[in-house]
């Protein structure tokens, strides 16, 4: 060490440190977790057949605890069916789909360095719709419960591979090209879906099914739907979390990330595939539910900041709570009919989003 005094850019300052304007994650979870649990419980209790809390607790105990612990508890077959076979899986699917869409949205917004990012932008959503329409039109949807979800996931991935293949040259995939190719392929697939629907004379019932599916919904979801989506979504959430530091670095720009030791192209492939997995698995079991992937991560980022280690899990929990509550509203707004879930998410999400936006703009001008 030579005798050089500690070098620094420091010059005298008078400005004081300013507050970050962020919420502590603990405060966020203290508000959102009770909301999530209350929504989940209400989702099981409330419905066309109003159940008592104790019945719900009894059924859940009988179903989840060892038989020797629940000897004295008796539940009717009807109550058991309503709680365990109808309402509980529905709440679980809502939680899974909400968490998946919000996390995938957060990842896409960061990958594209754009707060308007959404998984739909890379052709995944329209790809899933196309697969579903093919299954509906061909009649396979009535032969097997899993045909529709599997076709939706498979065609979402095919669309993604196609988009990625088009946008990649010489081993690099510029995100701007990815975005443009995704939008073009998405529009094309949406048009193909419409074409298939219009040239196939389908029965009113099938048409109604398709339209309902395109507006998103969780009616008659069963345990099969839980098992069809939950494993994929769990894998997607874990991979997303493992990528959180890389996502932080990518927000600074690809050149910065590469200079800090990130294999940028490999990371992009992992991120895009993960968000396609999350989106495909969600669309497969819930149809097209818009706005969750856009509004939830954006709202969470405004509250907690952009660091992904905090943003991704909070988006997942927030997305789950948001979708459980939206589904509750969809079921109870005008019984016995249901409002479509995609309609509720947009009706609730858009005003909330605008409120956040206006608040942010006001703060920026103060």
């Amino acid at each position: 060490m030579t005798g050089v005094s500690a070098p620094s850019l420091a010059v005298p300052r008078t400005r004081e440190p300013a507050a970050q304007g962020r919420l502590a994650p603990a405060v966020f979870y203290a508000v959102v977790t009770p909301l999530l649990l209350a929504g989940a419980i209400a989702g099981v209790v409330v419905g066309s057949t109003q159940l008592d809390w104790s019945v719900v607790v009894d059924v859940l105990a009988v179903k989840t605890l060892p038989a020797s612990w629940t000897v004295g508890i008796s539940v009717t077959r009807a109550d058991e069916a309503i709680v365990w076979l109808i309402r509980f899986p529905r709440v679980l699917v809502a939680a899974c789909v909400g968490a998946a869409l919000a996390t995938a949205g957060a990842m896409m917004q960061s990958l594209f360095r754009n707060p308007l990012g959404e998984p739909t932008l890379i052709g995944v959503g329209p790809g899933a719709v196309f697969g579903a329409v093919v299954v509906f039109v061909s009649g396979w949807s009535s032969t097997s419960l899993v045909a529709l979800p599997l076709a939706a996931i498979a065609s979402a991935f095919l669309a993604l591979l196609f988009v990625y293949g088009i946008a990649t040259r010489g081993g690099t995939t510029p995100v701007s090209t990815l975005l443009l190719a995704g939008i073009a392929v998405g529009s094309f697939l949406t048009a193909l879906s419409s074409l298939l629907l219009s040239i196939n004379i389908v029965t009113w019932q099938v048409t109604q099914e398709i339209v309902f599916w395109m507006m998103g919904g969780l009616d008659s979801r069963t345990w099969a739907h839980v098992w069809l989506s939950a494993p994929f979504i769990a894998i997607g959430l874990v991979v997303a979390l493992l990528q959180s530091r890389v996502l932080d670095l990518l927000l600074l720009g690809e050149e910065h990330a590469a200079a800090m030791g990130v294999d940028v192209e490999a990371s992009k492939r992992v991120l895009v595939a993960t968000s396609a997995l999350l989106t495909g698995a969600s669309v497969a079991v819930a149809g097209l539910v818009g706005f969750v992937g856009l509004v939830v991560p954006h709202a969470v980022r405004l509250m907690l900041g952009p660091v992904h280690r905090i943003l991704l899990p909070a988006s997942a929990v927030g997305g789950a709570a948001f979708l459980i509550l939206c589904d509750l509203a969809a079921r109870t707004a005008r019984p016995p009919a249901e409002v479509r879930l995609g309609v509720v998410t947009a009706l609730c999400g858009a005003p909330f989003f605008l409120w956040l936006l206006v608040r942010q703009l006001r703060e920026a001008h103060e």
Partner: protein
């Protein structure tokens, strides 16, 4: 904690255009190297290939004799920090969060920040005069403040080699001089410091080695006094240069556009 960065016959061809043409440079510890040249002369490209973030058409970059492209990226990032020219980020990270990202190559893939990371971040914040701004949202900082944040991120990595692309671009006079002094001090302490810049006047004063690029080729390299001659600057930059003696015994460069041949900018101003 010192490293020699060597570039031999570096050639980059993109879209049929030779951006770099057989450039050979040796960057040694203790030396503050300035890469200068007109717009489009290949300064940024040279820094990118030296940092290993751009592919080479031909040639090889070595860090202490080992080929950069053969080394794992994280290993390179631990020893070599590169500050790209574009430092824009629209997401509301705090200053401290950005600077802490500089520790990424040193941290285990899933490891939390340790005491050493925190010390390095604090040191970088202090060095770049950012301590009072550390909780500030970077989207609310001025261009110069952001530039210092980006530099802080590079310093937090505690690299052996520091490559800076126009680090003084948005800085005021005071911070420009502070940054150049900081670079010189880092070089004296054993870091290999390289900066690409348009600030030829200050290069003459602060740099210990100058590489002059023109059309992707090295026109001259060596000590500032031997590279920055009026004749050469006239050929490359199309400006007249006067070398004047300062009262402290040093010399300074004064530039002017040749009066006989006014440039396009001057003609535009008269319109």
């Amino acid at each position: 904690m010192s490293a020699v960065l060597n570039g031999r016959d570096l050639t980059v061809v993109r879209h049929g255009c030779r951006i770099l043409d057989e450039v050979t440079v040796t960057l040694t510890p203790g030396v503050l190297t300035a890469i200068i040249g007109p717009n489009g002369s290949g300064k940024s490209t040279l820094l990118r290939v030296l940092a290993g973030v751009w592919p080479l058409t031909n040639g090889v970059v070595t860090l202490d004799g080992e080929s950069l492209l053969q080394m794992p990226r994280r290993e390179v990032a631990r020893r070599l920090s590169f500050l790209p020219q574009e430092t824009r980020c629209d997401f509301a990270f705090t200053v401290e969060e950005i600077v802490a990202m500089g520790r990424h190559p040193h941290r285990g893939r899933f490891a939390a920040e340790n005491v050493h990371d925190r010390e390095a971040v604090h040191q970088a914040l202090t060095t770049c005069d950012l301590l009072h701004l550390r909780k500030r949202n970077i989207t609310r900082l001025s261009g110069g403040e952001r530039q210092r944040v980006a530099l802080g991120r590079c310093l937090a990595a505690q690299p052996d080699v520091l490559l800076l692309d126009e680090p003084t671009a948005h800085l005021d006079l005071e911070h420009t001089l502070s940054l150049l002094k900081l670079c010189r001090a880092l070089a004296i302490r054993g870091t290999t410091v390289v900066l690409a810049t348009h600030d030829v006047g200050n290069v003459a004063r602060f740099a210990t080695q100058v590489v002059l690029l023109h059309g992707g080729r090295v026109v001259a390299s060596g000590l500032p006094a031997s590279v920055l001659t009026p004749a050469r600057l006239r050929t490359v930059f199309l400006v007249d240069t006067q070398i004047v003696s300062t009262p402290d015994g040093n010399s300074a460069l004064i530039f002017d556009v040749p009066s006989a041949a006014p440039g396009a900018l001057a003609q535009g101003a008269h319109r």
